[in-house]
Symmetry: C2
Subunit: 336 residues, 2 copies
């Protein structure tokens, strides 16, 4: 008799180990977002996920259609005092400057070498594209990855003195995990360079390379004299995955319309509109940077991550606006 | 006592239903490719998959890195007498002709309306791009999908008098399933239009839209006056996913290098080279169209799906060349 009880016990353990316990969605979701304060934002997330995952619900969505897209800069990690990829490119200018003596007197390089952010801002996107072209073009995909990997492991944020990958938002890490636990596939859809992001997004967000959508430059396939093929970065921009480019990028890469999208700036407005325009239950969310103490406070007038028109639209249409100050208990993982 | 035995039985059934039986890789692979004759091609596939999936093997590859890419035209489905998407575009010209009386005297439309394939061939890629532009531009993504869905459900192949989706290769359908059963993710990497393919690739190959890489035209996001956003197809080509474009497309969309790639023409050569150039175990395969009776026989001199340089390279480097005539027991699913 004892043997049979033991056997049943072993079988039960086996079931537990191999199949996972049969938990209800409610139990699984319990405390899935511990860094979110109780409030409308947290509630709207829980409500939406319950609606689309409950079998038999009129809003039920099959797992393969559970696509959740997230902007990166300002949504999953910080973007002040400047988009981190711009800081990376500026660091590249400084590293390469000894080989380019002409840069000392030539914009936009001069502004970078002088740390003159005002002039840089005035040079705008054109200046930035010149920097990208001068520092990225001619590298193979592998060389570029290596340079990014080295930078991301060592460069430190000027205010927090931590590596940039520590400036991810703890509540959003919990949200990514929560969505995946509910059968969603999580995608990054960012204006940032797709190859820049892929170096670290798997490690820091648990999002694999094939689920990263971003901007890209033209690449050229080349057979080296030794027969080894390489992909060479060229200087022209191929695709800008920002603003109206985001629905285009989503359509191109994913080929399905998200049912859940989270952003933080006017550059995300079209992604949210595109998400909202599908049939069935939809979730549109914005991170509002309202906490100058723990992070930064900026919106309508900011040069980086401006949130103006999209904020009006969110208020008008009842999208979820998450205030960092009041909705987030904790912002960065390193906070106590 | 009987109750306890019953309980154990119920538990065992529960385990069976929820966990699936613990089959070894060898058992699962048994007869996984019934439409392939025994021979070098079939053996090379089994050997490769066994090497990379056996835990503890020096060639073991983690599931997330098991990327298998397949060309479409001539590799997964037929491509004669012409790429099926060209036939689609020609049918569009005919359908739209009443609204464009000038097409009767204007190339390349005139050649299409006269069914003059010789002139069409002479007009080449440029002529085809004009046809694509004239028939696709101005459509929204949704409208285009609907037109493709209708065509693919009704248009019939001139030789076999069957809808085009019946002209898939049974041995390749088995191969796709076999790879997925061994933890691979299967991707289509084709010169065909990504949106054209996505209409039917999930249904016929079991490959979801986000795993289709293809050529694309420029799309523009537009808010309609009623506030509804649409994606509009424009007339410019954005990206050609063929030849040297295939490694670029793979890098852009997937962000990982395949360890297994299958093609059938010189347009796949660079994808195979790129696959071969990675470290660790690799599989490169070509379908060789050698069966004029059951399908078609063509290679070095064919206008469609030319296989010349890639065949030389395959022979020189020991890639797997699959002869339709000798390696495939059955070609199309509809054969008895």
């Amino acid at each position: 008799m004892l043997r049979i009880v033991k056997m049943i016990f072993v079988l039960l353990v086996f079931i537990g180990l191999n199949c996972g316990p049969a938990i209800s969605a409610e139990q699984a979701n319990n405390d899935a977002l511990p860094s979110w304060n109780e409030g409308a934002a947290k509630k709207s997330i829980f409500d939406f996920v319950a609606r689309v995952t409950r079998e038999g619900s009129p809003d039920y969505v099959k797992p393969e259609e559970r696509i959740a897209t997230f902007d990166n800069d300002g949504t999953l990690w910080a973007e002040q005092p400047m988009y981190f990829q711009i800081i990376f490119a500026m660091d590249r200018v400084k590293a390469l400057a000894p080989k380019h003596p002409d840069w000392k007197t030539k914009q936009p390089f001069m502004a970078v070498l002088d740390n003159d952010t005002k002039i840089l801002a005035a040079l705008g996107e054109k200046g930035f594209l010149k920097i990208i072209a001068a520092t990225h073009a001619g590298l193979t995909a592998e060389e570029f990855n290596k340079i990014v990997a080295e930078w991301i492991a060592t460069a430190r944020h000027p205010r927090f003195n931590r590596v940039y990958t520590e400036l991810v938002y703890q509540p959003m890490l919990e949200l990514l995990r929560f969505m995946r636990a509910n059968g969603f596939r999580t995608f990054v859809v960012s204006g940032g360079g797709v190859e820049f992001m892929r170096v670290f997004t798997d490690r820091i967000y648990g999002i694999p390379p094939e689920q990263i959508v971003g901007s890209s430059g033209v690449m050229r396939y080349q057979l080296r004299p030794d027969g080894k093929p390489v992909l060479l970065k060229e200087s022209q921009i191929e695709f800008v995955d920002d603003g109206p480019g985001k629905p285009v990028g989503i359509n191109r890469f994913i080929g399905r319309r998200p049912i859940f999208a989270f952003g933080n700036s006017d550059g995300d407005q079209q992604m949210l509109e595109w998400t909202a325009a599908g049939t069935g239950a939809r979730f549109m969310g914005l991170v509002h940077h309202t906490d100058a103490e723990r992070e930064w406070a900026y919106d309508r007038k900011s040069y980086v991550g401006r949130l103006d028109k999209a904020l009006d639209e969110a208020n008008r249409r009842g999208w979820t606006v998450t205030s960092m100050k009041t909705d987030w208990k904790r912002i960065f993982p390193f906070e106590q």
